[in-house]
């Protein structure tokens, strides 16, 4: 999967893939300079460039990126670690599975936004409540993928542990966890996408501080649409970068597996 991507990055292919973005930007330039659309609603490229210059000069750009990434990382780690642990508990213990899996199946149907009132009640409106809000988006994918991964272990392989007299920990470390790894990596990938979205949600519904979501809020309220466009573009680029990074790490961890076992 990852090797396929690499081999496709020839100059001619990059050029081909750039066709649509170039057309979109070209249309944008034309539409705003020729007056096809109201410049009060859609900022022209020069306005966006102005806003960009200002943001880099006053340092808000980096502060916002840093703020959003820190929140993303903190929230993701919190949710992913707890989700991984709960997924292990449910995947390894029949009793825990029987007791708690139906409850989790019920809880995961609830939108993250529905948790907001409870979160602010328990954690206030500071960074902790944001981390929890964002973390929920990583929690469920990690629980689900870890659980499914552990349940996908072949009976044959589990029997091998008995034959070779592995201790429970060795059995987990050498057989169960590697078998579950592709599924878990899939959960991490999904969790990162969802938490990145939740990071913006946290900006909107809780205090924004320095954040990319803050650009959107500020831009919309003060009619600076250049700021909004920069915010949207940053979200897309950074989100894509995070996804790319996880795919690369996942591809590396699964580099020795037959292709069908890759996530």
């Amino acid at each position: 999967m990852s090797s396929k991507h690499k081999s496709s990055l020839t100059p001619s292919r990059i050029a081909l893939r750039s066709v649509i973005p170039v057309l979109v930007v070209g249309f944008w330039v034309l539409a705003t300079t020729r007056g096809w659309i109201d410049p009060k609603i859609w900022a022209s490229p020069s306005k966006v460039a102005d806003a960009w210059r200002q943001l880099t000069l006053n340092g808000f750009l980096w502060k916002a990126i840093e703020g959003s990434l820190l929140r993303e990382t903190g929230g993701f780690l919190l949710g992913a670690v707890v989700g991984f642990l709960v997924g292990n508990l449910l995947g390894l213990s029949r009793i825990a599975d029987w007791l708690a899996t139906p409850l989790l199946g019920f809880l995961k149907q609830i939108s993250v936004f529905a948790w907001l009132p409870l979160i602010s009640l328990f954690f206030g409106i500071g960074e902790w409540s944001k981390a929890v809000f964002i973390g929920i988006s990583a929690f469920f994918p990690l629980v689900t993928s870890t659980y499914a991964g552990l349940h996908s272990v072949q009976r044959n392989h589990a029997e091998l542990a008995r034959l070779l007299r592995l201790s429970p920990w060795q059995r987990y470390r050498k057989i169960l966890l590697p078998a579950a790894l592709p599924a878990i990596l899939g959960g991490i990938q999904l969790g990162l996408v969802l938490t990145w979205m939740a990071t913006v949600g946290a900006d909107f519904f809780m205090s924004a501080g320095y954040s990319i979501g803050g650009f959107l809020i500020q831009g919309a309220s003060s009619l600076k649409f250049g700021l909004v466009i920069i915010g949207v573009a940053l979200l897309g680029i950074i989100g894509w970068g995070l996804d790319f990074l996880t795919r690369q790490v996942g591809g590396y961890l699964l580099r020795n597996r037959p292709k069908t076992l890759q996530a």
Binding site: V143, Y147, H151, R155, R162, R165, L181, N256, P258, L261
Partner: protein, 279 residues
């Protein structure tokens, strides 16, 4: 080598719960396998030969009678007994060397000793230059050779083989049969082979037990008194083969045969297919 590796099976019976009436798989089996002997169990499918091997390996329990290795009753699995399945059962995320070393995880050896044991056994099966290769890059025959190395790396007293060559193509099978004989001689280890290939059994064994199906019981034990290495097209070889095959003809399996008895060791089965949470 000290003469250890005596297997005694006395009065072993085993049933599986099956619908209303329990399925009687093994009935009062008595076998005595001598140290260093190559012994084969043959029989039509449904005769419980794989079930018996799993009992000796200690993978299954809940039987009547007594199974002893050198006088010690079998209780659970042991590194003193190496077992090969029909599938090589290698872990796809470990390379050849790591797969063999996995069997040494619970062994008392030092790191250095373990490294040496792995290298030595890879050499024994002729895969020393494939130590860093991953299973999916190997042919089925090579994978099974890795499994042989893994089964022997703990220097067990007995080697148990559950149709290890059945899934391979004819040429590879013949080649590995010769290899098995060589390894058995080199290691001087009691070897118990379950197979439905009578020719394979005659080629390799000192003695063969023929089991009758439903319930599995001993029909007779045949001493193979042919000089090694044996020739498959030799007249005496063929007459022994014909003699044993006649036993099979008398116990032609019913179409409904391949029941719980032999399918217990069948390949891909999922541990618990409940994906309640996984949407």
């Amino acid at each position: 080598m000290s003469k250890l590796g005596n297997i005694t099976v006395s009065g072993v019976s085993k049933s599986f719960p099956h619908k209303k009436k329990p399925l009687h798989v093994l009935d009062n089996i008595d076998l005595e396998i001598r140290p260093g002997e190559f012994f084969s169990i043959v029989g039509a499918s449904g005769c419980g030969k794989s079930t018996l091997l799993r009992l000796i390996a200690g993978l299954d329990g809940g039987y009547e009678g007594d199974i002893r290795i050198d006088g010690q009753r079998v209780q659970g699995t042991s590194l003193d007994r190496g077992l090969l399945f029909q599938d090589a059962r290698l872990l796809p995320w470990l390379n050849v060397e790591e797969n063999v070393a996995l069997a040494l995880t619970s062994s008392p050896y030092s790191k250095q000793q373990k490294r040496e044991l792995v290298a030595e056994h890879l050499k024994l099966v002729g895969l020393d230059s494939f130590a860093k290769t991953y299973p999916h890059q190997l042919s089925g025959g090579m994978q099974q050779r890795v499994a042989v190395a893994r089964g022997l790396v703990n220097r067990p007293r007995v080697l148990l083989l559950d149709e290890p060559l059945a899934a391979l193509d004819a040429l590879t099978r013949q080649y590995l049969q010769v290899e098995l004989e060589r390894i058995w001689k080199e290691e001087d280890i009691t070897t118990l082979l379950v197979t439905h290939d009578v020719e394979e059994a005659i080629l390799l064994s000192d003695r063969i037990v023929v089991l009758e199906p439903r319930p599995g019981r001993v029909r007779r034990i045949v001493e193979i008194d042919l000089p090694r290495p044996r020739n498959r097209s030799d007249a005496k070889f063929l007459s022994v083969k014909e003699d044993i095959l006649r036993d099979f003809a008398n116990s032609e399996p019913e179409p409904d045969s391949a029941s719980a008895a032999d399918s217990t060791s069948d390949s891909v089965e999922i541990l618990a297919p409940s994906f309640a949470l996984a949407s």
